[in-house]
Point group: C2
Chain length 521, copies 2
């Protein structure tokens, strides 16, 4: 074939392109674009990836175990904008400049895998899940059809099966999805579909008011889900909890009856196994009794607490979970599989997920494929493209074994126990409540307040202590721990222990450091 311009459009060739064009034999030009050969410089690209990986290894991975590194290099927003060169320009930057940018991005990011990052319900570094995540990013799969994601679909199936075993169901189904909040939405919609399959097609208009029940201590995603799904936040009936943050079953019973009297349609109870702030576990067995009695779907939000199922010592916290209809469980939290790694698990095995969610797109889920299309599970999802989040959990599980995962949970809870004992011993520290799990909620009381009576002035002053200590620790970069007011209690610290890189020494440091930062207040 001789040089030719495509028929598609005019030839707009600038002099540089013209030159390349002249040099190339058999060049094909369409709309001013030379189409012969790839335009990417693969060798340069590969070199860039190698150089960047070296930086990642040195600046993130190797430093993850080093307590002498800062947890964060705090900068206020306006200053950080100036420090980073955020602007996207017409022309690209050279590799050296980009590598410098990578350094800066890392430098000013919070090191969530630092042994003294205690700020959220995730922390630490797991080398095996990290490798799985690197593989995922390099392969760039989307999990909807076996054709495109054979390995990752089988891995997801295998992981779901084991998680279902740990819940204690004989069989079941499930799907990995982008977060505990989304898992809770899935469950809410599934319960609604089971309650009235017509809603899928007809919607909620003209139906009685659907009502669901959850505890006062539930995750805020319940409200988000109720509003997103068109149920409305007013139709989330919050059940009173006891002093430890557990749903009171008798109160649930009363509220179900109240909803019935109002002419509303109760359809779902969302219990929580491991609440966000206090780490409380609802009494699942008693709640299951009530659900059975009233024919309500029982969903357990075990996003945080689910990982205790892996521990023979601690799985009793979730006693009764096998009676749930659905469970949300995030291995990216205590098990450290990396954000995000979240499964919704469903006891029903009659393809309920598929019935509820399918839209039967013919361009993706062709029925005349040459393999068993029951492996094309994408139509169970609210997403189209979906990440293979099960894979990172699988790799970690393969590497550590169930015993290794169990040790992780046991150790985190033992460290929590140690910290509780230390708090009890130390002057100026006061527990909010005896914890059930890895959330340790406590006040630090500076010496100026220790002799004060616990009246309004005391609480008002104490309320201001945690934010100041937090500011000081952020600016120093020594550690990160969260605080919040909660249900009438003034600001207190919530310490969360997760990572196996954390040791008893870090617990001691935590208390010493809070005292150091706050003793003058």
């Amino acid at each position: 074939m001789n040089s030719s311009a495509g028929s598609g459009g005019e030839m707009e060739v600038d002099s540089n392109k013209q030159e390349i064009f002249q040099r190339k034999r058999n060049a094909v030009l369409v709309n001013g674009v030379i189409l012969n050969g790839p335009i990417t410089d693969s060798k340069a690209g590969e070199k860039f990836v190698e150089d960047a990986c070296k930086i990642i290894m040195e600046e993130v991975i190797q430093k993850a175990a080093d307590v002498t590194e800062k947890v964060c290099e705090w900068q206020p927003p306006e200053k950080l904008k100036k420090l980073l060169d955020l602007e996207m320009r017409d022309t690209g930057e050279p590799h050296q400049r980009l590598l410098q940018l990578c350094q800066d991005i890392i430098r000013y990011s919070v090191k969530t895998n630092h042994p003294r990052f205690f700020n959220q319900l995730y922390a630490g570094i797991d080398y095996y899940s990290l490798v799985a995540r690197f593989i995922t990013e390099a392969l760039n799969p989307s999990v909807y059809t076996y054709e495109v994601s054979p390995v990752f679909l089988l891995v997801e199936e295998a992981v779901l099966k084991r998680m279902i075993e740990f819940i204690g169901w004989k069989e079941g189904d499930g799907i990995f999805n982008p977060g505990g909040s989304v898992s809770n939405m899935y469950a809410m919609n599934l319960a609604r579909y089971k309650y009235c399959p017509d809603i899928k097609e007809k919607g909620l208009s003209g139906l009685p008011r659907l009502v669901l029940f959850t505890s006062e201590e539930c995750h805020y995603s319940m409200n988000k889900a109720a509003s997103f799904l068109g149920i409305g936040t007013q139709n989330v009936y919050f059940i009173t909890t006891d002093e430890r943050g557990k749903m009171i079953p008798e109160e649930l019973e009363k509220q179900v009856q109240r909803a019935r009297k109002e002419g509303a349609a109760p359809f779902l109870v969302c219990a929580t196994a491991g609440t966000t702030v206090l780490g409380a576990f609802d009494p699942l067995d008693k709640i299951a009794d009530i659900c059975e009695k009233h024919g309500l779907w029982l969903h357990v939000d075990a996003s945080w607490g689910g990982s205790a199922l892996i521990s023979r010592q601690h799985r009793k916290l979730l006693h009764g979970i096998h009676r749930a209809d659905s469970v949300a469980w995030n291995p990216h939290k205590m098990l450290m599989a990396g954000i995000q790694c979240c499964a919704l698990l469903v006891k029903d095995n009659s393809d309920l997920l598929k019935k509820c969610y399918s839209a039967k797109a013919s361009y993706l889920f062709q029925q005349d494929k040459f393999y068993d299309v029951s492996y094309d599970t994408g139509d169970k999802s609210i997403q189209c493209s979906r990440r293979p989040d099960a894979f990172k959990f699988w790799m970690m599980w393969k590497a550590l074994g169930t015993t290794g995962l169990e040790e992780r949970v046991n150790r985190a809870l033992a460290l929590a126990r140690y910290l509780v004992d230390e708090i009890k011993k130390r002057e100026g520290f006061q527990l909010l409540l005896e914890p059930e799990y890895a959330n340790i909620c406590f006040w630090y009381i500076p010496s100026s307040l220790r002799k004060m009576e616990e009246g309004p002035e005391f609480w008002e002053k104490l309320h201001q202590v945690a934010p100041v200590i937090k500011e000081r620790m952020m600016k120093k970069g020594s550690m990160m721990i969260g605080y919040q007011p909660h249900r009438g209690k003034v600001n207190f610290f919530r310490q969360v222990v997760i990572s196996p890189q954390v040791s008893r020494e870090d617990m001691d440091f935590l208390l010493d450091e809070i005292d150091l930062l706050g003793r003058d207040l």
Copy 2:
């Protein structure tokens, strides 16, 4: 401090642990767990990551540009289960075994970044976004508060700002989220909130039937969203399209009037810019006129077509998009930012996203923080933990510049044009329609059918051709291209051109290979 057991529980020490215990000075034991020092062997972990990265570099990244490699190593599900050791056991596997597993995972996965992977609306490898994704995985951030994700929140803000400029809005807001389907859900809920803010609290019960409009060629996520949000799939009114797959504005007008007559409440039109199968662009300007006239929210699902906005040559495809109220745009498709990278963009600048989605969790969004909490944008999201997907787009944009992104779009569309011309020239290939974008839909007609009259028997036989060719190409591993039946048309191939690693030679190969695999049919 002397050796001590915590007060929390009984001492259960096996002999191995007892030994470590004896050796350690000041050991602290709680519930049978030794708490001194970290339990992770960081050095071994780092070595494992290094070894695995070497495999990823050699087996995935370096092979991504090599057309002599197979696109896939096909195995049927049951056989692949046997080839892979999927079972998770009590005991972990040694590093050498894990590295072998990594090799196998890669071997049997589809190489979506192979130059001859044409199966989906994404393909190829971008070295810069890949580095950003590696950094993300290593740092493991969650984007909700500035405190935890200072860099990634600023990056998201900067990227959204530029995307908004390309849409042509003076100002706006937005959020990166897990996929085009989820983006469409966001928009649908936002439009509903704007229509009637009470729905957030009260839900849909007792309200008139809400109706939305979209074309027959829209993505299947419209149905998923309508069902998930409690609107109901029956209340999605599908508008007839013309022969090129574009929504007919006059039909939209009629359907809006029909809905009004039925006493329903029209609230939203979802136009599509780049349909999934045909790559059609709805006439946005005319649709915007109708939306304005009837006071309807205009959402544009530009998940696939949005990237054309970057090209001065091709942005006319989306003429009128600046009049939309919201836009979904996935840079992980044609721009290759890696799955997932999807933004929902909103014209409103009165904090509508926050009003619609906020749940004001006090443990996360404390108002007494020491910095400007307007940077804590997590409450705009339906998720709690959220990945920093904007970052990979940003890194790519920094590296390539706007010009480089533009070149990517121009080249893909020029290659598409070249392929169209080749299809027209070659015997046995027949275009379905003249494409507007990078979707080239065509039939391959084996010689046995070329003389047959285009009656029912012809179409029935032709319908069976593409699945057989697909099976053969999968088993050979030479390339991957999708097929589907569509709106009365029998199975045809849909070729999608994206990656800059793809060249004119690959287009020629595609047609040669289909002919080679199918000429005996």
